[in-house]
Symmetry: C2
Subunit: 360 residues, 2 copies
DNA sequence: TTGTAGGCGTTATCAC
DNA sequence: GTGATAACGCCTACAA
């Protein structure tokens, strides 16, 4: 910074002001400084800035299973939206264990980032509050009963209901939901977990159609992974309970595609013998053979809503403008409106995309 | 840190030493300090550490198109391996433009990270050197003629040759390679680009089989994306040049799966009418119907080799041990061997996985 | 084996 | 509108 100051014939403080677009600096001076910085390949040191001001201009995304289509497409959408708002995105994988989630939050995200987007796996809301160090955080698909943070959710209930309704509409007599166990109905987490809310949606659709529901309408999956999902198809075909199943709703596209592969292993035709619906709307679902009907979450809308919330909180924290005065289109939803302190809870746009797997 | 020092009854310096496992501190003292830190939820501030020592304990992965299966599976593998070695992984998406790649390197990766793993799109090796600020970097699939950095590559030539050979072996009379254009042979970048090297492998296989090659053996693709790949299938079927094509090698699995979808749109059967081979070995390839024969890159091996190189360079930079004395299994390949200064160039393990798409 | 002191590159608070 | 100066929290000679 000293070098730039010298080259531009000003003091270091002036360089700092000019580079961050402080209006106090004369336009001509600022331009001269910017050019000097450019020529010297100068870039402000993030560590120093963060140490001194507590702001880094970085927003972090921490997500489970970066190698699966849905999380990776979601991270990509978040990254794009973060960059569009003049922040630097970083993505981190929370590979399952609770300790790992905690470590990521402690060691990098909460320290380095001005705000975080987190898809909680194991950590509770209360623990998160302690780990957040007071930094703004928006949670994804967090359904805890009394939320501590803003959150944006996928349309678990409505989406699942639409999926099951669609199967019934096309004439399925025995619809099976792959993922949750029937016993879950007894669970007190029905309202506070993603599975529970999706199951609730399914039940609503069954009820509206006048379908009586029992254990034979659910095929539980220990892990929502490709291998168990593929094997679940064998279980469906081998068990008497599901013998007349003619429609299946899988709780994620990845499950649906693996399940479909399992059906293909046994020569069962989709949609002729069994119709199939997924959830997420990953790219893959469009290119599968047959292409997969699915409840598509609008990831761009999800990202937009998430960042609306997060950036409002970040600005509320300091009561000022963003760190990068040059970058922003500055549409921080709701200018001038005081941001409410109570955690907000939004739902991303979605649609039922009808494709070959339910074409009859 | 002062609080921890007070709680443990030592000075701040002692806390710093103890927490990083400096052998000078007595084991009992160190333990006492660790417990105090734990109780107070103390974590060293990365910004301050990085500012003072130049080391952050973070390794960055910068990669193109985080929302595609191959890059996302690769990032996940890298993240796991980075964590396994006691560093914190962060992933960034370089969404295409050269400016974006530069910005990512300038603004965060090169500043914040002790080392970087980069899959270069538009930026030249020389530009990278300037942007790296002397920090170690390992490139992925960088084939520049005189490399500046270590790199780890996929088996472009051998893998492609194996793919084409396999198609010929199962009896294909007219093999078409989807991706590069025949004109590329005239290009001087044959040896220094991924496409070029994969094409070279194809040509070798053709030659070894005594097959004469012309433009009808190549179906060029403007962008290696699903939509153009799907349409490429229509082009193949509609053009007289490819009328008798009975085997297709696609340069990535994503292309192959989209291409296969295009064939299905026209009712062409795989493998009966046309056999198909992909490249990468993404999870999706195993669950496609029919499952896809592919040249699978061993991502764990790729990650291992990449981090062997990178961590050796990081340690050479400071001539010491890793930042986290507790974390490492410490198998930094080749103990005691002086690390050569010349850029290394390694190739990841791979295998041809034969599946239904070439079963005849 | 432990304590002391100075500085890493910024930004914020003052004067001017 | 600009310049001097003191922190931010940590690391590391060096002294004890």
């Amino acid at each position: 910074m000293s070098d730039v100051a010298k080259a531009a014939g000003v003091s270091r403080a002036t360089v700092s002001y000019a580079l961050r677009g402080d209006p106090r600096i004369a336009a001509a001076t600022a331009e001269k400084i910017r050019q000097a910085a450019q020529k010297l390949h100068y870039n402000a040191n993030i560590s120093a800035r963060s140490l001194r001001s507590g702001r880094s201009g970085i927003i972090g995304v921490a997500i489970y299973e970066l190698d699966r289509p849905y999380p990776s497409e979601m991270s990509a959408a978040m990254s794009r939206e973060i960059a569009r708002r003049g922040y630097q995105p970083i993505v981190q994988q929370t590979s399952g264990s609770k300790d790992d989630e905690i470590m990521i939050l402690q060691k990098v995200t909460s320290q380095l980032c001005d705000g975080m987007i987190f898809s909680p796996g194991q950590v509770s809301d209360e623990e998160l509050r302690a780990l957040s160090h007071g930094k703004p955080m928006v949670l994804l698909d967090d359904i805890s009963p009394d939320p501590v943070f803003d959150s944006v959710n996928t349309a678990c209930e409505d989406g699942s209901a639409a999926a099951v309704r669609h199967l019934i509409d096309i004439g399925c007599k025995h619809v099976v939901v792959v993922g949750p166990s029937y016993d879950m109905l007894l669970d007190d987490k029905m309202a506070s977990s993603v599975v529970g809310r999706r199951m609730t949606g399914c039940l609503r659709a069954f009820e509206e159609a006048g379908v009586d529901v029992d254990a034979s309408n659910f095929l539980p999956l220990e892990h929502w992974d490709p291998i168990p999902a593929r094997e679940a198809a064998y279980r469906l075909l081998d068990s008497d309970d599901y013998r007349d199943a003619d429609g299946v709703f899988c709780m994620t596209d990845t499950i649906a595609i693996s399940f479909m592969r399992g059906l293909a292993d046994r020569g069962v035709r989709v949609p002729d013998d069994i119709a199939l619906v997924g959830f997420d709307g990953v790219t893959e679902s469009e290119y599968a053979v047959p292409s997969l009907t699915t409840v598509r979450t609008d990831l761009d809308d999800l990202a937009r809503r998430t960042l609306d919330l997060l950036i409002d909180r970040i600005n509320a924290n300091v009561g000022g403008a963003g760190i990068d005065a040059t970058g922003g289109t500055g549409d921080n939803a709701g200018d001038g409106l005081a941001f409410p302190d109570a955690p907000q809870r939004l739902t991303a746009a979605w649609e039922l995309v009808k494709r070959e797997s339910t074409r009859r």
